[in-house]
């Protein structure tokens, strides 16, 4: 009977799990060339987002979205040094974090968002019905729904797939492949984490005292969403990169929220029982 059900529902056996894959984005190496943005758009056939000038440094992309799955930030900072002023530029290629506990995946009511055999988070385009719940659920503002009138996969949710199609063929994701400075490194998550710790040690030894890793299992950003499978080496506080200190996983507070709902409902039922009973005498 179960076999019959599986045939009826067109259910396949999921592929056997493989080693977790991810990105280590080392922002200390980023030169802001945006090759990752372009390579991502080309491989995934994402349409252009228009040619607006934001006036915010060289960043005319603004943020990640339904048709932008890599986004290079240009952070201009200044500090006084006597009468002179020192400037520095931080660059960072932002991407979906492929959280171990993904808020988008938990929010998804259709099961369109799944965890792949590479432990990445993926939207099945033939299942998503565009309910839009994943959009505000993501604590990083990554996933977005394509407009109902657009040239690109209309009305469904989109984000970085970690080039799932390329991974299937043992290929490196397009952004990492195109990165000329190895700021974006692709590989097994465990190995990348080792590499990141080593790199942080090197930078600290060179005097980069504010360098830090973001998304490692031991970091407090992993408290709710778990380790990020696309994690970062940053040169300033996470906030400077618009990254939340502790990204929130909605599930953690859901029971309490339902509890308040239930308390109000039960209170009403009790009052109603008393009021109506009073009318029987």
């Amino acid at each position: 009977m179960i076999d019959g059900y599986k045939r009826l529902m067109n259910l396949e056996e999921p592929p056997p799990p493989k080693k977790a894959k991810g990105f280590f984005t080392d922002t200390s190496l980023c030169i802001g060339c945006k090759a990752c943005e372009v390579a991502c758009k080309q491989w995934n056939q994402l349409p252009a987002d228009g040619f607006a000038i934001t006036g915010n440094s060289y960043d005319n992309t603004g943020h990640l979205g339904a048709t932008t799955w890599r986004h290079v930030q240009f952070i201009e900072q200044a500090k006084a040094n006597g009468s002179r002023q020192e400037q520095r530029w931080l660059m960072m290629s932002d991407v979906c974090k492929h959280c171990a506990n993904a808020a988008c995946l938990e929010a998804c009511p259709t099961g369109a968002l799944v965890r792949t055999e590479f432990d990445t988070v993926y939207v099945q385009q033939d299942i998503c019905n565009g309910c839009g719940f994943c959009v505000p659920a993501c604590p990083f503002g990554v996933i977005d729904r394509a407009p109902k009138e657009s040239t690109f996969e209309v009305g469904t949710a989109h984000k970085c797939t970690l080039c799932y199609d390329r991974l299937k063929d043992d290929m490196t994701p397009a952004c990492a492949k195109s990165c000329p400075t190895a700021s974006i490194q692709f590989g097994d998550v465990e190995e990348l984490q080792q590499r990141a710790r080593q790199r942080l040690g090197e930078l600290k030894a060179r005097g980069e005292s504010t360098a830090r890793l973001y998304g490692m299992p031991e970091g407090h950003e992993a408290a709710e969403v778990g380790p990020l499978h696309a994690f970062f080496l940053l040169l300033d506080k996470p906030k400077a990169y618009n990254l939340p200190e502790v990204p929130r996983l909605p599930r953690k507070t859901m029971a309490e929220r339902y509890g308040w709902s239930a308390a109000v409902g039960l209170g009403f039922a009790m009052v109603a029982a008393l009021v109506f009973r009073g009318g029987r005498q």
Partner: protein
């Protein structure tokens, strides 16, 4: 270039010229975070320019309309069912009209829910799995279960009162009344209670900061639902005693709603600004709080001392205020939440260590 007190980016304003001194010393020290003021003055923010941390919800007017009607229908069903169990013969007869109200209010809910999807043709994908962890999935199943129950119980009431004739009447009388009421009440409370939890289960500061939004929407659903029942009762010329009992119930729900709403606003703190001071503030204060909460309480208070004709018109007015206020509450919190999603400093506050 080795760490140090670099100041954050400075929005659209040009960087200070050399010799002008530090850009934003107080800000860079990290001691205080006057981001609101600086943002308004076009200066730097704590984060990356003034870009939001989270994405703006893509939902449109269908969602608050659905939450309102779904809550109203659910509240009416619960009120009617409780009257069947605990009420006098008059109460039972009068309140059973609540099943009609429930069916009528729930009818447009599914179209509204479907209309808001990016791919409405795939609504049924919501029902390909049962995943109560996702409030969206739970809500879709609850609505799918409750709508036919409300229609079935409404049909059996129509059969009892002689509105249905012939074979339809015979079929409607087969509906197990008590079972439908118990199951339907359970689903009604779920439908009334999940919507605020759904909004709360996001990273939008106005919706997520306080954990009471589910309770607020539940209370609003029950007050508007019981109001709809008493509106229908007043229209049908119910005995005064029944009207009084319904008014007491409505007032209790309104009092509860105002109490939990106060708690919600206090807990939300600064995150509530888009609601309490933004462009949706008039709808919230005048519509949701005054018309939806305070005015009905006042009208019911006056009605207690009035003559029978004024009682009827006062309770009709109170019920209409309560229902309109409930819509204003959902709409203002929903729309202000979209603005709240763009409040960078509120997002940082929500994700503080």
């Amino acid at each position: 270039m080795t760490g140090g007190n670099f100041s954050p980016p400075r929005g659209n304003s040009p960087p200070p010229l050399a010799g002008e001194g530090p850009g934003l010393p107080a800000h860079a020290s990290g001691a205080s975070a006057p981001s609101e003021r600086l943002r308004r003055s076009g200066g730097g923010t704590q984060g990356y320019y003034d870009y939001p941390v989270v994405r703006r919800p893509v939902w449109t007017w269908e969602v608050p309309a659905y939450f309102w009607l779904g809550g109203l229908g659910a509240g009416a069903f619960v009120t009617a069912s409780l009257a069947q169990t605990f009420g006098s013969a008059d109460d039972r007869r009068i309140a059973a009209d609540g099943f009609y109200v429930a069916a009528a209010a729930l009818l447009p809910c599914a179209p509204l829910l479907i209309g808001d999807l990016g791919r409405p043709d795939r609504f049924h994908h919501m029902l390909r799995i049962f995943k109560p962890l996702s409030p969206m999935n739970l809500g879709a199943w609850t609505l799918t279960g409750l709508t036919p129950l409300a229609f079935a119980r409404g049909a059996s009431h129509a059969a009892d009162t002689g509105l249905l004739h012939g074979p339809l009447r015979a079929i409607a009388q087969l509906v197990p009344r008590r079972l439908t009421e118990v199951l339907g009440s359970f689903l009604s409370l779920t439908l009334a209670g999940y919507s605020g939890v759904l909004l709360g289960a996001t990273n939008v500061p106005l919706w997520a900061k306080s954990k009471l939004l589910g309770g607020v929407f539940m209370a609003s659903a029950l007050s508007s639902g019981s109001a709809a029942v008493s509106l229908q009762a007043a229209r049908r010329g119910a005995p005064e005693a029944t009207l009084h009992r319904l008014a007491t119930l409505e007032s209790a729900a309104s009092l509860g709603e105002m109490a939990i709403l106060t708690g919600y606003l206090v807990q939300s703190g600064k995150a509530a600004r888009p609601l309490t001071t933004g462009r949706f503030a008039p709808a919230f204060w005048l519509g949701a709080v005054f018309a939806g909460g305070l005015l009905p309480l006042l009208l019911h208070g006056v009605a207690r001392r009035g003559h029978s004709r004024t009682v009827r018109s006062l309770s009709t007015a109170a019920a209409m205020c309560s229902m309109i206020g409930s819509l204003a509450l959902r709409w203002s919190i929903f729309e202000a939440g979209k603005d709240s999603s763009e409040d960078q400093s509120a997002s940082f506050d929500l994700s503080k260590a």
